[in-house]
């Protein structure tokens, strides 16, 4: 292993190269710029291409082009750029193109605060494009080291499911520095649990079979396979059609190839949940690290608190919320996003609370105070999941 003191952006770039990515198109935006910079330096060293696009919409379309020629591709941005991915993200979902996308979360709405962490994109990454009728895969690292691991995993899943996979990492993950171990030998890669899958070519004639199977190679152009790919509803061969039945078959695949193989995607970290604590604190990304510190402290003082950290966000792991308990969602947003899914997934007589803020992480002491008041049966929010003190 080689050890660095580096940013999450650096870790993601190294992981992408390790996973076989040889094509990156991007557009500068804080706090994802360092990923583009790292790629611009790193990719040519391994024979890969770094392209700077005229905007984010073009960047992801360039990635689609790269992938259609058979390359492993990646792009990265922050919220204001991610919305410009809406168009190509939809194309890639529908035509089933493997692409890895980084969304580095800063504070919104619009340009918001550039250099501070936010988690306002929880639903945006679930519904990155219009029209519905699809599932998405989203992974959320909480450290630079995990960003390394999940980037490799994202490339793996993108190939198997032949679709875009989004890494949702808040600004502290991408911009913060940390000790990072990068494996050098195959043994070290295996030890880290990294999984890899090479690109294969689909030789047709059915490029879009109406089945939930994974591991079907994607369309690759230039090999005279007669492959067709477009933004229209495809027949199984790829012809454009307006038939409802064809649409039904197509979106069945887009939805159920993910839903029926959720076990390959779902990842989480359960901490201090074995004794069915009264309070379960749910979070993802960097806030989960403060939550874990706080839960450790809380346990020392005898509070019955546990922590559930989501590593994969979408498809949403409903099955993890079977406990009849008090839930607290800790998020870097003020409107409450993850909390809505918890509310939906947990038993109906559970209490669900929300602690949200932007730009700065909550402190351990602040969390301990909240834990105590919830355990005392008090509420931190008078109305539904609104934040009490503004």
């Amino acid at each position: 292993m080689k050890r660095y003191l580096e940013t999450g952006n650096f870790a993601i770039a190294e992981a992408a190269v390790l996973a076989g990515c040889r094509f990156f198109a991007g557009y500068p935006i804080t706090p994802a710029t360092e990923l583009a910079e790292a790629m611009s330096k790193r990719l040519p060293e391994v024979g890969g291409y770094y392209l700077q696009a005229e905007d984010e919409c073009a960047a992801m379309h360039m990635c689609i082009g790269g992938a259609l020629g058979g390359m492993k591709v990646m792009t990265g941005t922050s919220g204001p750029g991610f919305i410009l991915y809406a168009d190509p993200y939809g194309w890639a979902l529908a035509s089933e193109i493997p692409i890895v996308v980084l969304n580095s979360g800063r504070v919104g709405p619009v340009s918001g605060i550039t250099g501070a962490p936010g988690q306002g994109e929880f639903y945006n990454v679930r519904f990155p494009t219009q029209g519905g009728n699809y599932e998405t895969i989203v992974l959320a690292p909480n450290s630079a080291q995990e960003a390394f691991y999940l980037t490799v995993e994202a490339f793996y899943l993108a190939e198997r499911f032949r679709m875009p996979v989004t890494l949702l990492a808040d600004q502290l993950v991408t911009d913060g520095m940390e000790d990072i171990s990068v494996p050098e030998t195959d043994a070290e890669k295996a030890q880290m649990g990294l999984r890899f899958k090479d690109r294969e070519i689909n030789y047709g004639p059915e490029f879009y079979p109406a089945v939930d199977k994974i591991d079907i190679p994607p369309v690759v152009l230039g090999h005279n396979t007669g492959a067709l790919c477009s933004d229209w509803t495809p027949t199984e061969e790829g012809y454009d059609t307006e038939e409802v039945e064809a649409c039904h078959k197509h979106v069945y695949r887009l939805i159920y190839k993910v839903r029926n193989h959720k076990d390959l995607i779902t990842r989480y970290e359960a901490f201090a949940l074995d004794d069915d604590p009264e309070l379960v604190v749910v979070s993802f990304g960097t806030p989960s690290r403060v939550v874990k510190s706080a839960v450790k402290k809380a346990r020392e003082t005898g509070m019955k608190v546990g922590a559930l950290r989501l590593i994969s966000l979408w498809p949403f792991p409903d099955e993890l919320f079977w406990r009849r308990a008090t839930y607290l969602s800790v998020e870097l947003n003020y409107d409450g996003q993850l909390v809505r899914e918890i509310q939906r997934a947990c038993p109906k007589d559970s209490r669900v609370h929300f602690l949200g803020q932007c730009g700065e992480l909550p402190g351990v002491q602040e969390l301990l105070t909240v834990f105590q008041s919830l355990l005392d049966g008090k509420t931190i929010s008078p109305i539904n999941w609104q934040r009490e003190a503004w």
């Binding site: 003191l5 501070a116 450290s143 520095m177 000790d179 874990k292 992480l361």
Partner: protein
């Protein structure tokens, strides 16, 4: 060592705050510790202070934020004022040429006055060695790091003027007993 050691460095933009954090982070890696470093920038630069939060531990680090620094190094009065209340047991380093401290706090918390800027100018002729003097002073008290390792990390991160930086570091180290 303690389960985790928290180090906070804060000052104005352009004072080399992040670089100082990076040196300490690199020293941690050289000693096989785990380390995180959050750097605040962007709007906060305009707001008057930059901050590097370093956590060092033998174990994987959960919270990466400094809430009760073991070592707080202040390079400006606003930075000092903003963070001083966080320190409960730790020690504070400050440069009196840039930072005015609160006498009430000095009574309760150990403060090390390090005239880093003056020493840099006096001994090396240039203020650019201020941080190296400060790091040397901190090295005397940050027992978790070997002196030689901090020095090596500094020379890795700042590869220019090695000899001068090493002298500045030593001057800071000798300043504190």
């Amino acid at each position: 060592m303690k389960e985790r050691t928290e180090i906070l460095i804060s000052g104005f933009g352009g004072q080399g705050i992040v670089r100082l954090g990076q040196i300490i982070g690199l020293a941690a890696i050289k000693q096989q510790y785990r380390v995180t470093m959050l750097k605040s920038h962007g709007t906060e630069q305009r707001g008057g202070y930059v901050r590097a939060q370093v956590i060092v531990s033998r174990e994987p680090i959960d919270s990466p934020i400094v809430e009760d620094p073991d070592y707080f190094c202040a390079f400006s009065t606003p930075a000092y004022r903003r963070h001083v209340d966080m320190v409960s047991q730790g020690v504070i380093f400050y440069d009196p040429s840039s930072t005015e401290v609160d006498e009430e706090k000095v009574k309760k918390i150990t403060h090390y006055s390090v005239a880093a800027r003056d020493i840099a100018i006096e001994k090396l002729g240039q203020a650019i060695y201020t941080n190296s003097v400060m790091l040397g002073a901190m090295a005397r008290k940050m027992e978790i790091f070997g002196k030689e390792i901090l020095l090596a990390a500094m020379l890795d991160v700042v590869p220019k003027f090695k000899e001068e930086n090493a002298r500045a570091f030593e001057a800071g180290y000798q300043l504190i007993k």
